[in-house]
């Protein structure tokens, strides 16, 4: 059976740190950063991590589509929040996918994203149900490093399988080699990187063209027939150089999104692929390749129905939803690069009882509430006794999903007193379309947001608390302004 991409989506955090601000802080120390200090990089909010971003990309990808037939969720990252507690499983619980789904984490390489896609396509070709592939990254970088400049936080998600394809897989090829351009081990806090010139000359320029050539030969497609070449390297001359070496037209080289997003690690190849699909015409041949101890190369052809595969906002929609952040100190604080005096209020124990967590996971991560089958009232949380004062029926509620309900502000405040990593903490009473409400934390409120009663909001999946004492974090949902 023909296999390929059914749906594609992405997520980029709203805040974009101006690289000029990073340079202001570090230019005295490393004047070499000047060359990288153009444009902006995506900066995750304090309450975002690869799990939350993978969820948002997945939700974007699946918008409006039934989820019952999804057979697996593969999540790729090199910055997983958990090293032993399945990250894909958390994303699956937030997507409310049910227990019969094969969740797998893929890690340890900057090509884990494309590898996940490649394996998913192979597996889904059997026709046993589409597979959701999510790649998500929030790379840690040392202050004043080039990586800090060139990285960006973000995620992409693709649903692959058989049936109504938006893009069919023409072929794939992988080369594996233990080329260590950089590494991070169990003992390291940060990446250790070798000389850029060597990485380019011996790594990118030798390994990638070899893999892509093999793919083109295997599929019988000429380099000149490639409409879009997606290669995620931050240094744009690398993609251009590889294209030239292969005979791919220079105008086919995809914008690396370095100026507007930054390189999102193992997610970035898929972010570029999704971005390319969003503007693809039927018949376009899109080649995506990645680099990390070898190279994965995949070739797709957009079908007549390629536009039907687009997610709710996509990479382009999320890129457009933007706030220009000029406070580099805030970035440092959010990324643990500086020790902040957080005050005694921050000392409260954020412990989560794991038995309590498990029993309530549909509520906390799935955002599932209740609907009373007697009077029809939607309520959050789901409870034993209906909250409707004219009903109060016992044991009548069924599961009611709240994650995608439209919401609006009933009341709000900006709380300067409570401890928050990003003060003030905005929160307020949110009312849901169709019934139900929640006194909810808000997120993604920026200096130019004007919060007011009645304004439309959407619910987003975020970190609720970091338990620094134990190395845990718990997730919940927060209201964000809905543009």
């Amino acid at each position: 059976m023909e296999v390929g991409i059914l749906r594609f989506g992405g997520y980029v955090p709203q805040s974009r740190l101006q690289r000029a601000e990073i340079l202001k802080a570090h230019g005295w120390f490393n004047p070499g950063l000047r060359g990288l200090a153009k444009g902006e990089r995506a900066m995750a909010n304090w309450d975002e991590d690869p799990i939350t971003m993978a969820f948002e990309a997945s939700r974007d990808c699946l918008a409006g589509r039934d989820r019952d037939d999804i057979s697996a969720l593969y999540m790729a990252s090199t910055s997983f929040p958990f090293l032993d507690r399945q990250n894909a499983g958390v994303v699956a619980s937030a997507l409310d996918l049910g227990s019969g789904v094969q969740t797998i984490d893929l890690a340890s390489s900057q090509r884990a994203g494309t590898s996940a896609l490649s394996v998913a396509l192979k597996t889904a070709a059997s026709g046993d149900g589409p597979i959701l592939v999510a790649a998500s990254e929030k790379r840690r970088a040392k202050a004043a490093s080039p990586l800090e400049m060139t990285s960006g936080d973000g995620a992409a998600a693709l649903l692959v399988g058989t049936g109504d394809l938006a893009a069919k897989l023409i072929g794939a090829h992988t080369e594996t080699t233990d080329f260590v351009d950089h590494f991070r081990s169990e003992e390291s806090e940060y990446d250790y990187t070798w000389e850029e010139r060597w990485v380019r000359d011996e790594g990118y320029m030798k390994i990638v063209p070899s893999a892509v050539s093999a793919l083109l030969e295997k599929t019988g497609v000429a380099a000149s027939d490639i409409s879009r070449f997606c290669f995620p390297a931050a240094n744009v001359r690398v993609a251009g150089g590889i294209a030239k070496a292969l005979g791919i037209a220079p105008e086919a080289v995809a914008d690396t999104l370095q100026a507007t997003c930054g390189e999102a690690g193992t997610a970035h190849a898929l972010i570029l692929l999704v971005h390319a699909l969003e503007s693809a015409k039927p018949g376009d041949r899109i080649l995506v390749a990645s680099f990390g101890q070898g190279c994965d190369a995949l070739l797709f052809e957009a079908t007549e129905a390629v536009a039907n595969g687009k997610g709710a906002s996509g990479v382009s929609g999320h890129l457009a939803r933007r706030f220009a952040e000029t406070n580099y100190a805030k970035f440092q604080s959010f990324n643990g690069l500086v020790t902040m005096e957080r005050g005694i209020r921050s000392e409260i124990d954020k412990n989560t009882g794991l038995s309590t967590h498990h029993r309530n996971v549909a509520m906390t991560q799935g955002f599932v509430g209740g609907k009373c089958t007697k009077c029809g009232t939607n309520q959050f949380p789901k409870s034993n006794i209906c909250v409707n004062p004219n009903c109060n029926a016992v044991g009548t509620q069924v599961d009611e999903p709240f994650a995608d309900k439209a919401a609006q502000v009933n009341s709000y405040t900006a709380d300067q007193l409570t401890y928050s990593p990003n003060p003030p903490n905005y929160f307020g009473m949110i009312q849901f379309e169709g019934g139900g409400r929640l006194l909810s934390d808000f997120t993604d409120v920026f200096a130019d947001s004007k919060i007011e009663v009645g304004m439309p909001m959407k619910m987003m999946f975020r970190v609720k608390d970091y338990d620094e004492a134990r190395g845990f974090r718990r997730y919940f949902w927060k209201a964000a302004p809905r543009a």
Binding site: I344, D349, H357, T413
Partner: protein, 401 residues
């Protein structure tokens, strides 16, 4: 068929510590300070107290659990002692226990004492604490000011009050309370302030500024209650009796059902209606002589004027700006300075409110004494959050009124 509490119980004596930053005193010292005054006021001895209730809400900050701390501090004589907690209504809750014990005939003389020592946290404001294991997973990250600030935007939107006008009415409330607190030697804050100072104060939780929020402080207050017959037999005259003692607790409707618009307290309205019925008061605006409300935040006081049916719905701002609630207004509110000037040692506040009503009824309020002789005094003592809370309404007055 129950007939309510009216005139079944009289206040025999009351005491109140100095409220403030009592760095040199433990909770025990505060309890004994309030208690010795109440004992002297009542004319009885410890051995005559048959049952006692202790109100304290954040016990982990000071005395710890159970009612044992009260029995030990006061050397109560192996009598039944109960600790109660109902958020910030804990003081009134202690009073309820003592009053019902006497009204039921279970005992002749009962004690209610509230205490809280909050100034040992090492920082300003109420301590951050767990809300419960499940609640911690889903509750918003909210301070008390942030939670009550919700009322402001909802009230403005509902009644079409511009934010500036609301802020000015809130400022008037705080200025008025400080004018009253200036005349109260037991209050923590005794400085006078002006509207501009309040309007321009640093923001705590929009739109509440520093002077829209009561402070945290240390304090204790206590009441000794008995039947009117026993009080008279001890030579007491001009008895102050309990006319109504009502409580209402949220059941989730405000938090989970869209029937509540966020601009008022469902609980206060329910408790007030029952309280007026219990006390036989048909026209509260005309009949209530003075009252204390839970002015943890100025906006709480503002909406409570309507929730107690003294101002008409939407009419609180006008009444406030007209001075209706000022010390020299028609129905003074917080004539002792309120939570704003006393601060809010949680377990003590409900009893501190009653203390002022009691003094006023007896003509013993010194500089603050209302020249027009009060007949009915009311206290409103509320705890929790606008969307889920405990609201108590207590009415005391001249016996027979």
């Amino acid at each position: 068929m129950a007939s309510g509490i009216k005139d079944k119980v009289a206040i025999l004596g009351m005491g109140c510590s100095k409220f403030g930053e009592r760095w040199g005193d433990n909770a025990d010292d505060l309890m004994v300070e309030a208690y010795t005054e109440a004992l002297e006021d009542s004319g009885i001895e410890t051995s005559q107290i048959e049952m006692a209730w202790l109100g304290t809400a954040i016990e982990e900050q000071h005395v710890g659990k159970s009612a044992v701390p009260l029995a030990m501090a006061l050397r109560l004589q192996y009598i039944p002692v109960t600790r109660v907690e109902n958020y910030c209504a804990s003081g009134t809750e202690a009073f309820r226990g003592a009053v019902y014990a006497v009204a039921s005939g279970a005992c002749d003389i009962a004690l209610a004492l509230g205490v809280e020592k909050l100034k040992d946290t090492g920082y300003g404001g109420l301590p951050q604490r767990s809300r419960g294991s499940v609640a911690d997973l889903v509750w918003a990250n909210a301070s008390a000011p942030g939670s009550f600030a919700q009322l402001a935007t909802a009230y403005s939107a509902k009644h079409g009050v511009p934010a500036e006008d609301l802020k000015r009415a809130m400022a008037h409330i705080s200025v008025k309370s400080h004018d009253n607190g200036a005349r109260n030697p037991k209050a923590h804050l005794r400085n006078r302030i002006d509207e501009d100072k309040v309007m321009n104060a640093p923001m705590i939780a929009e739109p509440l500024g520093l002077f829209d929020c009561c402070g945290v402080s240390d304090g204790s207050a206590c009441a000794i209650v008995t039947t009117p017959e026993i009080a008279r037999s001890m030579g007491k005259t001009d008895l102050v009796t309990v006319k109504a003692l009502q409580l209402a607790v949220s059941n989730g409707t405000e938090a989970q059902h869209n029937s509540w618009d966020g601009s008022y307290f469902k609980t206060t309205r329910a408790a007030a209606q029952r309280a007026y019925k219990e006390a036989g008061i048909a026209k509260p605006r005309d009949q209530i002589s003075m009252f204390e409300v839970h002015d943890c935040f100025s906006i709480t006081e503002l909406v409570t004027m309507e929730d107690l049916f003294i101002s008409p719905e939407g009419g609180a701002v006008k009444d406030i700006m007209d001075g209706f609630y000022d010390a020299d207004g028609k129905v003074p509110c917080q004539i002792d300075g309120g939570l704003k000037c006393f601060g809010h040692p949680i377990g003590a506040s409900g009893l501190r409110m009653l203390y002022e009503m009691y003094l006023q009824m007896q003509g013993r309020a010194g500089e603050r004494q209302r020249s027009q002789e009060p007949v009915f005094g009311m206290t409103h003592n509320l705890g929790g959050f606008p969307h889920q809370n405990v609201s108590s309404v207590t009415i005391v007055g001249k016996e027979g009124a």
